[in-house]
Symmetry: C2
């Protein structure tokens, strides 16, 4: 099972690195497997730690894909990394083992602190639609525009029916990216 | 914003009524709006209370659509209703006002107890795909089979890539229902 989360690490300069990522669990352990090249990978290898942030604010996912990285962070309690200031929950993890791979090394991490901040509010179909659009947006150059537009047409139903302001804002950021891409194709 | 939750109420016989439902918030209040006829509606009017269960176990959603109602429950603390035994969080609510409507009355409820039991584990694309398939399944008789199958083809990608055992089981229950429906169409 893959969980879509926000992984935060500290850059060499001290600034926060905020990255949406699909992670897996292996018993108590976390498996973080960034595709090379990856700043998160370098930071995790350099400092040996990270934070797994469980947020339902889809703007963080859409924002990191559209150049919006300024999400509020705090210092983690037990590891040398920032964490999101307002997630539903977070886990602070230490790197225990690297399973190397040319494409996608697996960083095996163990939790040293887990904290719950606010309750899960139930599923929201618009949040899921934003995540799917985020994935489409990250593959704009590899997918035919007709396929992208057909899937957007389907995803938009959930946005129209179930989105709140956060979901609508995230959706709009991603759609601006799709519109830009379409214009580039048309003028090419 | 619509949150997909499990609403639990107590039947006249005392047995639990477990129903997936999309609810809204109105400030601190909850707006529960079941389509008539609805056992949940009758129970809420009769006893004046319910529990809103926030669970990430999509088997409860898929199960209630496929005749599997035997989910473990406990008595709520503050209201005369059962709650799911193992949700991520739950809210116990009392009915404060009814905005009547022939099709879909709105039951305005206020929370009297809110509890968080386990942390949100991040988004999972397969969970969202199961919810979308559940919605399709509830509309089998109103949608063309070609549309249903096209959407299933798209949703299945997330199942294949990101499902855990719970998501796969829920998906299989719903797909069995779709297969039955297709057979009925073919032999009609």
């Amino acid at each position: 099972m893959i969980q879509e989360v926000i992984v935060t690490t500290r850059n060499p300069s001290g600034s926060p690195q905020i990255a949406p990522m699909g992670i897996r669990r292996r018993g108590e352990l976390f498996v973080i497997a960034p595709f090379r090249p990856s700043t998160t990978l370098e930071n995790l290898l350099a400092r040996g730690c990270a934070v797994v942030n469980y947020t339902d604010d889809v703007r963080v996912f859409a924002g990191c894909l559209t150049g919006r990285y300024g999400w509020p962070v705090l210092d983690a309690n037990r590891v040398d990394a920032p964490r999101l200031a307002d997630p539903l929950a977070h886990a602070e993890v230490e790197l225990t083992e690297v399973e190397d791979d040319e494409l996608r090394p697996r960083l095996i991490c163990r939790p040293v602190l887990e904290a719950t901040h606010r309750p899960f509010q139930g599923f929201n179909r618009a949040q899921a639609a934003v995540l799917e659009l985020a994935i489409l947006t990250s593959r704009l150059d590899r997918l035919p525009i007709e396929k992208i537009e057909r899937e957007i047409e389907y995803l938009r139903i959930a946005i129209d029916k179930t989105a709140g302001p956060r979901e609508q804002e995230a959706w709009d950021w991603l759609m601006a990216r799709v519109t830009e891409h379409r214009r580039r194709l048309e003028t090419a």
